[in-house]
Symmetry: C2
Subunit: 346 residues, 2 copies
């Protein structure tokens, strides 16, 4: 370390600022932390010294003494679906605005092992709280043990019955609205192209579809289950396309709807019109939804609201004044992929 001693440029520390300003390091600390019992002249001197030296407080030292890392962790998943990744980005922005550093870890798969690993990783970093984005059953189970984690955990789209703090969109209401729209157009044979049932969203949307069917006095036919991907929407769509009685499909997300649109198109079944036509409703309102062929009627989720709300809840929990879960309302966006069914000639 001879070089350092000899004057190689070191990162300036509080003591350097104190020396330059002619005060104690303690006074510098007060300026940095915005305390008000300081003579304006003193403050000015210190601020000038800070500027001149380009001083910045050492986060590690501060964290060590305050026992607060000013960091929160976010657990997302590696798959880049529009919804979760938008929530993730919003959380990062909101977390930073709230004065936190945001550390992320993306899971390859939502297995118990990977999840526990991620939590370990974040706890090692000393995060003050965690937001968990992908709510599968396994994730919820792990999150349930949060008392042991020592830090509050907010689960996005979690099951209120199984997690302490949660935030999300009213998935059931959204699915009901999407299905009801089809019912009101006159459809009665409405198939549900469902999402994976180990996801809370997948289950809730299935439930909403059923609710709306029963409410209309219709018997929900069986549903088919995909994996959120366009590929699965296409594969399952081919089978749906063979069923001439079907006049409408409510898909659990826009990607699957997209694959479905192509399957229908290939099968020569128009969307929405024509004698063998099929109406399609999606879920999410991805940015491309309005530009599909045809433009997709879908249920919009305000992912940014969810992300912001997640941070609000986490902050409240950290402050010791927990807030109740509150659902964000989804909104039906009607475009060109839905229309009344055309009379069929038997």
């Amino acid at each position: 370390m001879i070089e350092a001693a000899a004057g190689a440029r070191r990162v300036p520390v509080m003591a350097d600022v104190a020396r330059l300003a002619g005060v104690s390091h303690q006074t510098v600390s007060r300026v940095v932390n915005g305390q008000d019992n300081l003579r304006p002249a003193t403050r000015a001197k210190v601020e000038e010294a800070i500027r001149q030296l380009g001083y910045r407080p050492n986060t590690a030292a501060r964290a060590l003494v305050t026992r607060r890392s000013a960091t929160i962790g976010v657990i997302g998943s590696k798959s880049g679906y529009w919804g979760p990744s938008t929530v993730h980005r919003t959380i990062q922005a909101a977390g930073r605005e709230a004065g936190y550093f945001v550390s992320s870890v993306n899971l390859q798969s939502l297995t118990r092992e990977e999840l526990v690993d991620a939590v370990e990783h974040l706890r090692n970093q000393g995060v003050e709280g965690i937001v968990l984005i992908s709510a599968t059953d396994e994730a919820l189970e792990v999150a349930r043990a949060q008392e042991q984690w020592g830090v509050p955990v907010v689960v996005v789209e979690g099951d209120p019955a199984r997690t302490h703090w949660t935030v999300g969109v009213d998935q059931v209401a959204g699915a009901e609205a999407g299905t009801r729209h089809l019912v009101e157009l006159g459809h009665s044979d409405i198939v549900h192209l469902a999402g994976p049932q180990e996801w809370t969203e997948g289950r809730a949307r299935l439930q909403g579809w059923r609710n709306a069917m029963y409410a209309a006095g219709l018997r929900p036919s069986e549903h088919v289950t995909g994996d959120w991907s366009a590929a699965s929407g296409f594969e399952l769509g081919r089978r749906i396309a063979e069923r001439e009685d079907v006049t409408a499909v409510f898909a659990a997300n826009d990607q699957m709807a997209l694959g479905l649109l192509r399957a229908l198109s290939e099968a020569g079944r128009g969307v929405p019109g024509g004698e063998r036509g099929v109406s399609v409703v999606g879920f999410d309102d991805i940015p491309e939804a309005a530009y599909l062929i045809p433009p997709l009627t879908t249920v919009r989720q305000d992912f940014e609201a969810v992300g912001r709300r997640a941070i609000e809840i986490l902050r409240a929990a950290l402050a010791g004044t927990p807030e109740p879960a509150r659902l964000v309302e989804p909104e039906l966006v009607v475009r060109a992929s839905t229309a009344p069914p055309v009379e069929r000639n038997p």
Copy 2:
């Protein structure tokens, strides 16, 4: 703090482990850091004590004394396009695998001010290095001043001439391949639906298109410039659809191609066939590309390779053994949206 002293459960520290194991805290440190000059029996004792207490090292204290935060920062953008966000997720995974904590900040817009802010934020956190994902001119300019930042910065899709460390896909080669494919099918009037020209990707793809046109002895017609979104692809596509002479379009990304497909469809111009048909090539190969109507021929980028490579380069830079930039090769994926032009009856 009487409660604490009275025995309220504290987070265990190294000294607690040492006491329980009957060794010095230094020995515990050695175990924790995996040094090998330890008697197996001692190590076992310590490990048992660690397990029993649920001890975990305090990152802040370690960072303070080692002057290493074990954290790297990633700067991305709030817009959630497939490419950048895939790279972002991969970087997070690769960074963590390399033993780092990964702190992210997503920019609302890529203005100079926001960028400087993000860098400040990350430096305050004491990150050891930074990966900057969105390479616009402003971003590159800010990155250029990295000598002042005190930490190495890797720019994804940066301009090798203007940034120290960079990694990316050979955009020019990709655009050449996409355009050449159209040329080889027999098209000569190939329009380029370009990306924003302040993005290095946007410029490089334009350049590749031009190169391929000249190489084929064709005169590149003027290009139109979008903003990467499906909306802009649709708007510009409507104008392109009016030009009956155009038989092919090379779009700078898949989202714009998606919007374009709809514009062409609305204008009654088939893709790819028919007398007024238009062939379309995209760029990126988003997961939905294979399920558009028709399935999109496009240039695939290996975003995960880019993300992994970014971490490799950053690690090398941190280790003081910088590696040269190396481009990832893109790959043409031929699907159904391209075909030879049909003879026109004038």
